[in-house]
Symmetry: C2
Subunit: 306 residues, 2 copies
């Protein structure tokens, strides 16, 4: 059986002003066909079309903070879903002032949306559960930036145990008990015989996780939130020769991102949110690799599959 | 001597939701190196970069109305000019609620712009002068759309008369009097002799004009505002088989745009603001031409020079 999807699509990698090559921040995470849009810089809806994503399947949008390059694509995206006749409600997890902006824009354009927006306002005090269903959990956690900002942590729920088909005669066990076995319980079969879980099941694959950190100053407090994730996206607006500028603007360098990844013992690091001054991105890899080996560059349209 | 520029660059031609091929409404008009940005749909700043325009030379922005596809690129464009360190003030001519939106966005992002915005709120009662300098005049005029909306009229000022160098001995006339002659006056030369204007000057080229009509229902009241312009942009969201839909949504068809152009005796008509349902745009030309011959399609990146 093929494993359920856990796939990240990069929609934008520029910091602040977009360029003709780089769009502002946005990523689309698919966890078992739940589509999570993370940040929504200007023209994100065009990027979503360009990469042929399932536009209307996005039910959850997460906005880290209210600098324009992280949310100015949202009003247009919401309007387009309305114009396309969306009925399904959409959940937006964000700083509370975003609702005021969207309400204002809809009010002046005299738009009454075809669907409901459910607002969930983020706090940046600690790890907070934002969303959960049978397969996924999403948390926010505090980040240090110039204005209120949170990161997001996406986790698969622990997977059910696998039945070892060579060791269990399925005909002798009810479907309900197969589910109980998969949950880790022992069961009694039709013949009244106890079946021990450990005799007939094997460990499932480990649940996967992704953490999103944009924008943030170098901050070791992040480590506890992103600990051992499979995939960490950490902004790297600058290279280390601009470390002072990074600190002043509450951003990070590639080296600092790598240090956080290492301290967090994550499996893989993705860099992004590059300042427009950098045309060639190779130095980001060169700078990060000595500190953390498994590092890759986010670029528009790139997919990361776990 | 080469004539001063009068050139329109199309930045976006989609109505409502953008597609991967078409951006929402925006145009850049250059009149004698005054750069006028007209509407500013999402991702206009990316289009401005794509077509290598002089980004920071735009001092005047005109917003017709507050449907998202006509202004949602403005917050990001203003932010980018700030990030690039602009000092020169910028003038925005628009419905008054736009200021509230921009103020709100700057407030939540804690941005204090590096330059001043001078707001000029449009009225839609009659032809109103919005801007004038020594070479140009810009007016707004009322349009009928679902919400408050204006068109814009850009006019070169009447040009000065030309000195006929074969008929005037410049050595016998002061520079001040040459300017008076160019303004159409008679003068007295150094020898006390009257020089009649009609003997030594010839007519200048006619002043050029451009009218922008987006978005509007078919409305013959427009004719008086766009009368005899050199270039008319008139929206054509639909083809005539969707005339009912056009009327319901306060938009126009290609045929209706052509009828307005004909009634206004304009020299050239440009169509645009196409519904995403139309992939091939040839039928827009086919439908308009029987009613008005000199018609062209707006497409992204196209330049119209008068």
């Amino acid at each position: 059986m093929q494993r359920q999807n856990f796939e990240l699509l990069i929609l934008g990698t520029s910091s602040a002003a977009p360029t003709t090559k780089r769009n502002p921040s946005a990523q689309l995470l698919n966890v078992a066909e739940r589509f999570f849009l993370i940040d929504c810089g200007e023209a994100t809806q065009i990027q979503l079309r360009r990469y042929k994503t399932k536009f209307q399947k996005i039910d959850h949008i997460f906005i880290s903070h209210l600098h324009g390059d992280h949310f100015l694509g949202l009003p247009g995206f919401l309007a387009s879903m309305h114009l396309l006749g969306r009925k399904q409600e959409i959940n937006i997890y964000c700083p509370k002032e975003l609702k005021e902006i969207i309400d204002k824009i809809n009010s002046v354009s005299e738009t009454r949306m075809s669907y409901e927006i459910k607002w969930h306002f983020t706090k940046n005090d600690k790890l907070n559960l934002l969303f959960e269903d049978d397969k996924t959990e999403v948390y926010s956690f505090p980040m240090k930036h110039r204005i209120f900002c949170t990161g997001f942590l996406f986790k698969e729920k622990p997977l059910l145990r696998k039945i070892d088909k060579f060791k269990l005669d399925k005909n002798k066990v009810s479907i309900a008990d197969i589910n109980n076995l998969r949950k880790g319980e022992d069961v009694i079969n039709a013949e009244g015989k106890k079946i021990k879980n450990k005799d007939v099941t094997i460990d499932p694959e480990e649940a996967r996780s992704f953490a999103y950190c944009s924008d943030t100053i170098y901050d070791e407090n992040l480590v506890k939130y992103i600990k051992e994730v499979d995939l960490l996206y950490h902004e790297s607006t600058f290279l280390n020769d601009k470390a002072k500028r990074a600190e002043e603007t509450f951003h990070s360098t590639a080296q600092q991102a790598a240090k956080i990844a290492k301290a967090g013992k994550v499996k893989q690091l993705i860099l992004g949110h590059y300042s427009a001054r950098y045309v060639d991105l190779t130095p980001f890899i060169d700078e990060a690799t000595p500190h953390f080996k498994n590092v890759m560059l986010a670029t528009e349209g790139k997919k990361f599959k776990i």
